[in-house]
């Protein structure tokens, strides 16, 4: 059997992470130790549970290393998968930026008040959400269809608009993105 496979790498990585966390991270990022003594009474400190959790993680890594000696790996993670995640991150980031800034940017150009004053009025309260949602949906549909089409754009616009109306029209107290942040 191949000596280095994805399960061996995963086992080594989690084992190393567990060691670093128990030795460095937990002691420096918790407010109390494993067990605390206050006026003679002992109580469990904030560090115990994380130490146990990371110990289990280390155990899991060791178990995976042992298992990998007799079993073929069942998962796969390639550079193409990581590239895909990078790509999704870009789409998500772009959609959130458009959601966050479309309304305020247009308000600064076309309106007298600030976006904060307008965010509960039409069409301002939908602008960012529909723009960002359309971008995300239409780009993802276009990726799968391997071409950008009017249909993808239409699906994006309709989905975002319907979703905005679905959440906003019946419920006064729900805030669509970005209206809870501005």
């Amino acid at each position: 059997m191949q000596r280095i496979n994805v399960d061996v790498v995963l086992g080594l990585v989690v084992l190393a992470c567990a060691l670093v966390a128990v030795v460095i991270w937990i002691p420096n990022d918790t407010g109390s130790g494993i067990v605390e003594s206050v006026r003679g009474r002992y109580s469990i400190g904030d560090a115990l549970a994380p130490t146990v959790a990371f110990a289990i993680l280390g155990l899991a890594g060791a178990a995976l290393l042992i298992e990998s000696r007799r079993k073929k790996p069942t998962g796969q993670l390639s550079s193409r998968n990581l590239a895909f995640i990078g790509f999704m991150l870009l789409i998500y980031l772009a959609a959130i930026l458009v959601m966050r800034w479309t309304g305020p940017a247009l308000a600064s150009i076309a309106a007298e008040g600030s976006y904060r004053e307008l965010r509960d009025t039409l069409p301002w309260k939908y602008l960012g959400y529909v723009a960002g949602g359309t971008l995300m949906v239409s780009v993802m549909v276009s990726l799968v269809e391997r071409q950008f089409t009017g249909k993808a754009l239409l699906i994006g616009v309709l989905a975002s608009l319907l979703m905005a109306m679905f959440y906003d029209l019946p419920f006064d107290d729900l805030l669509l993105p970005p209206n809870g942040d501005v």
Binding site: T30, P50, L57, L77, G133, V144, F171, D181
Partner: protein, 535 residues
């Protein structure tokens, strides 16, 4: 008995949603009905699943009904309706288009689709419906009987150390049986624990935050759970769709038959398979973390073995379009759903994704904390949580009645859902999930946290690590740490506080045994693959 009546009254005399001829229609029943229809439609749509619908609808439900005790039963009604509907709906595309609507309906394709090809789609759908609802009903009855009994036993006989050990046993068992290996199960459990421990604790310093202010109050439950369960699945499915060949729904026209529907003797033929698979599904469902896919596989395997011995020469074999094959699968996978609530209601330990969303709803609304304390039959004071519990049982019983009566008709009209292209659905579901998270948390930070957990969920799926142990550990870690702290203090700081009673020692020994013994075997996923390949 008083509480049973109070539970029924809470449902039928609850706040009305609207009036018909001056008679108020209770909101809980209306929501149950709507949830059931939604669940059947979602189950019938490949690529969607009950938990996705539950995730998306939860913030809307909370917005409609608010966070007050009266909201509990209508919200639970809708979620229970989805849970029940999705188990029935999953068989529709499996039978009509050879595409399982839900993962546990895979085995249904083996006999359902050949029946459709032979011109008997309605017969196959009716067999699936009867079997599915029968399994669900049997499982619910076991839940109604066992959950209160188990909870009373737990409250009477288990003290803090034993409860701590019981949670450890549950987590160990889930790590051992879910996924492809015990090492990966433990990775999932430990990462769930670590995520739950961030910024919690009793000291002023928010632990494990690395000084990041945005997470100084911990990871929001909704963002974390939806990220791992829903976004991770969307990312993986989307990549498969993007890179893989286009998979179209099979549109080959079946043979035409003038008369299609249940035939004389069908019920008698499938009844033993329904009974056997219902028992298998109920037992599997009562164990936290062991999913409906394993139940369906076992039900099918045992059913095939029995069928080989007893079938007549004119009856089809399993895999060639035998109604018994559909019955064996559907009864087993549906029998899981009711029994899955036994550990939630009696111990507070969620056993599947649907149970996770019931806990999320209870956590968001307040006034109901699933666990053994719910079944405290206090007198003369009335325990409102117990009334809610029996209200849930009432809703489940009414849900079964609706499933028996109108569920079949609605299910058979849902074939159209399998033709909705998944390449359009996935991006829309991503947007809907993001919106659902935002309207509940009203912060972009929660969207980024959800995305981070979505990446984790994606990596888990690529590395063949089960995500459900992560979610269950994320939910249980708070109570595990709290109970352990209390037990330690109560023991006067005894470091061996978990080894003071034989019950606790037994639980801990079982935890070690489950990891050591069950970990040596291939996980349910692996065994399922092996069996599917064989069949």
């Amino acid at each position: 008995m008083d509480y049973v009546l109070l539970g029924i009254q809470a449902v039928f005399n609850g706040p009305p949603m609207f009036s018909i001829l001056g008679v108020g229609v209770p909101a809980a029943l209306v929501m149950l009905f709507l949830g059931l229809l939604t669940g059947i439609a979602v189950g019938a749509t490949p690529g969607l699943a009950g938990p996705m619908a539950m995730a998306v609808s939860l913030p809307i439900l909370i917005s409609i009904f608010g966070v007050r005790p009266e909201a509990l039963l209508p919200v639970f009604g809708f979620l229970i309706g989805i849970m029940k509907g999705a188990t029935v709906g999953g068989a529709v595309p499996a039978i009509l288009f050879n595409t399982p609507g839900t993962p546990d309906a895979f085995m249904t394709t083996l006999d359902g689709y050949p029946m459709t090809r032979r011109g008997m789609p309605m017969r196959a759908l009716k067999v699936a419906h009867i079997s599915s609802v029968s399994g669900d009903t049997v499982s619910d009855i076991v839940l109604f009987v066992c959950a209160p009994f188990l909870a009373v036993l737990v409250e009477r006989f288990l003290d803090l150390p034993e409860k701590t050990s019981l949670i450890i046993l549950s987590l160990s068992f889930i790590a051992a049986v879910m996924g492809s290996s015990v090492g990966k199960g433990l990775i999932s459990i430990s990462l769930g624990m670590i995520a739950a421990l961030v910024a919690t604790g009793e000291e002023f310093h928010p632990r494990l935050t690395l000084g990041v202010d945005e997470i100084s109050r911990g990871f929001p439950l909704v963002a974390a759970v939806l990220g791992v369960l829903i976004l991770g699945e969307i990312f993986k499915s989307f990549e498969d769709l993007w890179r893989g060949p286009a998979v179209e729904v099979d549109t080959i026209e079946p043979e035409h038959r003038d008369k299609d529907g249940l035939m004389r003797g069908d019920i008698r033929r499938i009844a033993p398979h329904i009974a056997r698979s219902s028992a298998i599904g109920t037992v599997i469902g009562a164990l936290p973390g062991v999913g409906s896919t394993l139940a369906a596989t076992l039900g099918y395997t045992f059913g095939a073995s029995a069928h080989r011995r007893r079938k007549t020469s004119e009856q089809k074999d399993f895999g060639e379009g035998a109604p018994e094959g559909i019955a064996a699968t559907e009864a087993a996978n549906s029998a899981v759903s009711g029994a899955n609530l036994i550990p939630v209601l009696s111990l507070g330990i969620p056993g599947n994704a649907a149970a996770v969303f019931l806990i999320l709803a209870a956590d968001s609304i307040g006034g109901f904390n699933p666990g053994p304390a719910v079944f405290n039959f206090t007198r003369p004071a009335v325990n409102p949580e117990l009334v809610v519990a029996f209200g849930i049982f009432t809703l489940m019983a009414v849900g079964n009645f609706l499933n028996w009566t109108i569920g079949g008709v609605f299910m058979r009209s849902m074939g159209i859902m399998a033709r909705v292209p998944i390449r359009y659905l996935l991006p829309v579901v991503l947007l809907v999930t993001m919106t659902a998270i935002y309207v509940q948390e009203t912060s972009f930070v929660s969207l980024w946290i959800a995305f981070g957990f979505g990446i984790l969920g994606y990596l888990f799926r690529r590395l063949d690590i089960s995500v459900l142990p992560f979610v269950i550990a994320f939910i249980l870690t708070g109570s595990l740490e709290r109970t352990a702290r209390q037990a330690f203090s109560a023991s006067g700081g005894d470091p061996l506080f978990l080894f003071q009673s034989w019950t606790s020692i037994t639980f801990l020994a079982l935890a070690v045994v489950s990891v050591a013994v069950l970990g040596r075997r291939d996980g349910p996923g692996a065994s399922k693959k092996a069996r599917v390949e064989k069949s």
